[in-house]
């Protein structure tokens, strides 16, 4: 089965944790996860400055690792990310901001990638905040 996930929960919310575990479980069962789309407060996952205490889960790194191991696409909505202050180097330069903070493994793109995921996936699952 080909899954696509939408994560609108922020990293500290219960559903954000469920999204990661669901994705791991799907992959372990031999399913394909074509794309994970981060939208609304879910875009905070992509912030490289995310620094939770050591005894708490670090979802920013966990997703990046999972993406590296399984070749997942971690897509972050550009409009939602700009509004909340997560920028890649290019965007930061264009917006004349002093720094950028998009984590490795994450890609900034548009809502077209969400529409495409909804169209192509056999199963589309939302983890809402």
């Amino acid at each position: 089965m080909n899954f696509a996930l939408l994560v609108t929960a922020a990293p500290g919310q219960e559903n954000a944790w469920h999204a990661l575990r669901f994705c791991e479980a799907a992959l372990n069962c031999g399913h394909r996860v074509a794309r994970v789309f981060f939208y609304a407060d879910g875009i905070h996952h992509a912030n490289a400055l995310h620094s939770p205490p050591q005894d708490e889960p670090d979802l920013h790194r966990a997703w990046a690792r999972l993406a590296e191991t399984h070749g997942l696409e971690l897509i972050v909505c550009v409009a939602a990310a700009l509004r909340r202050g997560v920028l890649d180097a290019d965007t930061a330069r264009r917006q004349e901001k002093p720094t950028h903070n998009l984590g490795a493994g994450y890609t900034i793109s548009g809502l077209g990638q969400l529409a495409e995921a909804m169209i192509e996936a056999d199963r589309f699952v939302t983890f809402a905040g």
Binding site: L6, T8, Y39, A40, A79, A80, R83, G110, L111, G112, L114, A115, E116, M118, I119, F124, T126, A128, G129
Partner: protein, 119 residues
């Protein structure tokens, strides 16, 4: 390939960005040629108030953006009648021509779509 997508607006219009963000997502899906239906439910029915004005909060008026749905061929709009009644809005003229659905009509609406998006 065209899928039938149901977007559920269940957030109030101005409490945060989620109502606008759901609208943006559904407009892009419609622009991608998908068949898009919208259901207003729970606090999402506040989005349909005719006299709303976002300027008091320095926000764009959401209803004005919702009125663009027709330009994207999004013509199937529904509103949960029970959500309206619970908020004392049952007899109000709404700002969009959304068809009221009784409690028993919601499940069949969900069932006829390939995908439901709500956040």
């Amino acid at each position: 390939m065209s899928k039938r997508l149901l977007f559920i607006q269940h957030r109030p219009p101005y409490s945060d960005d989620r109502a606008t963000e759901l609208l943006d997502a559904l407009l892009v899906a419609a622009a991608f040629g998908q068949t898009v239906t919208v259901l207003f439910q729970d606090d999402g029915v506040w989005q349909l108030l005719r006299e709303q004005n976002g300027q008091a909060l320095e926000r764009k008026t959401l209803l004005a953006q919702l009125q663009a749905l027709g330009l994207y061929d999004v013509e199937r709009l529904y509103v949960d009648q029970q959500s309206l009644q619970e908020r004392g809005l049952g007899s109000l003229t709404l700002g969009l021509p959304a068809t009221p659905l009784a409690a028993g009509e919601i499940a069949p609406l969900l069932a006829e779509h390939d995908l439901v998006l709500r956040f």
